[in-house]
């Protein structure tokens, strides 16, 4: 069971002479096996929060627990899968070799078969292809397969489909939900899209900027598995509106 607990976390970066505070007083818990979406304006520190969980850098104050230990121990025992905004594939390796990379680095046998993972993300037949031969969407599928190679307990995604067109993106989201359900990982998704956040997540965490703070936590009580027709549902729309109001606040009010 891997719960992510963030308490009293703030993060500042030194920027030339001054200091910039990216996050302040963050207090959230992501339940084990849940899917959480982080949404907020640019500069609200949602990517920073994701990187704190992945131990890319430590928090300035506060503490983070990933399962039974700190983010560093979770990272060192290969419990974290990370999908970046860019595919970040190694162009000199083919698809399967890219998927196998985390196991190679960890010097352990892949916890999931790279060829089977390639099939899971819908790239059967492309095992030997080089990244430069794939479309952007296919490259990002490889990145997802790679993140799952060591069967991570935590799956962190930083706008993984941000560069894709709306249609591909919708399709990838459906597949991502299927893959996540099957993996049982605790997932955190950073996104800019309100409908994506509501469609994917059990909980939408709305952040505000300067410095990044949690402005609202909205739990999305919609049935799973989620299908596209859910987006026509009135409940779906009301959740979208809740997120929208949390993001835009007073701007949403009808002028008197």
């Amino acid at each position: 069971m891997t719960e992510i607990a963030i308490s009293g976390v703030s993060k500042s970066f030194s920027l030339g002479k001054g200091e910039i505070q990216a996050l302040a007083d963050i207090e959230i818990t992501f339940p084990s096996g849940s899917f959480t979406a982080l949404i907020g304006p640019s500069g609200c520190g949602k990517s920073t929060l994701l990187r704190l969980i992945a131990d890319v850098f430590p928090p300035t104050t506060g503490s983070i627990r990933v399962g039974d230990h700190g983010p560093d121990a979770a990272r060192l025992s290969h419990e974290i899968g990370f999908v970046f905004q860019d595919p970040t594939l190694l162009p000199w390796r083919n698809v399967v070799e890219n998927v196998r990379l985390p196991a190679e680095v960890a010097k352990i046998a892949p916890r999931r078969d790279p060829a089977a993972l390639t099939t899971l993300v819908g790239l059967a037949g492309f095992e030997e292809a080089r990244p430069s031969q794939l479309s952007g969407g296919m490259q990002q599928r490889v990145a997802i397969a790679r993140a799952l190679a060591l069967d991570p307990k935590v799956l962190l995604m930083d706008e993984p489909f941000g560069a894709l067109d709306e249609i591909t993106r919708q399709r990838m989201n459906m597949e991502l939900l299927r893959i996540w359900k099957e993996s049982g990982a605790t997932a955190v998704l950073v996104t800019h899209s309100i409908s994506e956040a509501v469609f994917m997540a059990d909980t939408v965490v709305v952040l505000s900027a300067n410095p990044g703070r949690v402005s609202e936590v909205i739990s999305v009580d919609l049935p799973r598995p989620r299908r596209l027709d859910l987006m026509r549902d009135a409940r779906f729309n009301s959740y979208e509106n809740k997120v929208r109001e949390a993001l835009f606040g007073d701007d949403m009010k009808v002028p008197a």
């Binding site: 990272r75 974290i80 990370f82 860019d86 594939l89 490259q139 990002q140």
Partner: protein, 257 residues
């Protein structure tokens, strides 16, 4: 590339060369060229008599150029590693490279004659100095050719220093290294030649001087053509190796799909 494709890409430049040589031959026969410019056939005619001589001197030059090039590559690798492993070391090291590159070799060579005297050591040193800067620049740029997300990926995967170097930094740097190696190879030959002019007994630089002093114009030209051939050959050999090794398309570490 298919054989037919290779032919298609080689044919036009080859045709231009042949046409130019034919034009020169005709111009010489018509008496339009001065005595200092021989006909191509005159240059070819001296090859049999000069062959052993040419091989002897070319061998000397090649050896010095190769050793200098190799030494420069090692120095570039060591300094580039130092530049990138210590905070703030990159600028002074690159500045040093620029400084070395800015001093004209022809002015530097006599100083080195005084310091280390005539002989192989001199030719190798000058060859190394003349090919050093592009190698240093290429190595530094190559080692920096990874993007932030990919470095973060290796961090999240808990890769150690050696794995980062072997699995990421070295392959990412190869396109830059090969570009630098292609530029530097003819420079190493040029440096050797300049050093040999300072008074060598063996080497194409020496051969060209002997021919010049005995006013043997075709041999001077033969030497020049040989040097061009060696430079182009070195470049071509590295380009061939590059095509074999860097076979993953135009992009470096993939950013956007």
């Amino acid at each position: 590339m298919t054989p037919a494709g290779t032919l298609r890409s080689i044919a036009p430049p080859a045709a231009v060369m042949v046409a130019l040589l034919a034009l020169m031959e005709i111009a010489k026969a018509a008496g339009w060229l001065p005595i200092t410019v021989p006909a191509p056939s005159q240059v070819v005619a001296v090859i049999p008599a000069q062959w052993d001589n040419l091989v002897y001197h070319a061998g000397g030059t090649l050896r010095s150029a190769l050793l200098g090039y190799f030494a420069a590559a090692c120095a570039a690798l060591a300094l580039a590693s130092l530049a990138l492993s210590r905070e703030g070391a990159e600028r002074p090291i690159l500045s040093l490279g620029v400084l070395i590159d800015c001093v004209p070799l022809i002015a530097l060579a006599p100083i080195f004659v005084i310091w280390i005297g005539q002989g192989s050591a001199l030719y190798i040193t000058i060859a190394g100095i003349s090919s050093f800067f592009p190698l240093l620049l290429g190595t530094v740029q190559g080692f920096k050719a990874t993007d932030r997300s990919t470095r973060e990926l290796f961090h999240v995967m808990a890769a150690n220093r050696w794995q980062r170097l072997r699995l990421l930094a070295v392959p990412s740097s190869l396109p830059y290294l090969f570009a630098a190696m292609k530029v530097a190879a003819p420079l190493a030959l040029l440096g050797t030649l300049i050093a040999e002019w300072m008074g060598a007994e063996r080497g194409l630089g020496a051969m060209i001087l002997y021919a010049l002093f005995s006013f043997n114009v075709p041999v001077v030209w033969l030497t020049i053509v040989t040097i061009c051939g060696l430079s182009a050959g070195a470049y071509g050999l590295i380009a061939l190796l590059e095509a074999r090794i860097v076979n993953w398309g135009p992009k470096g570490v993939s950013g956007h799909g």
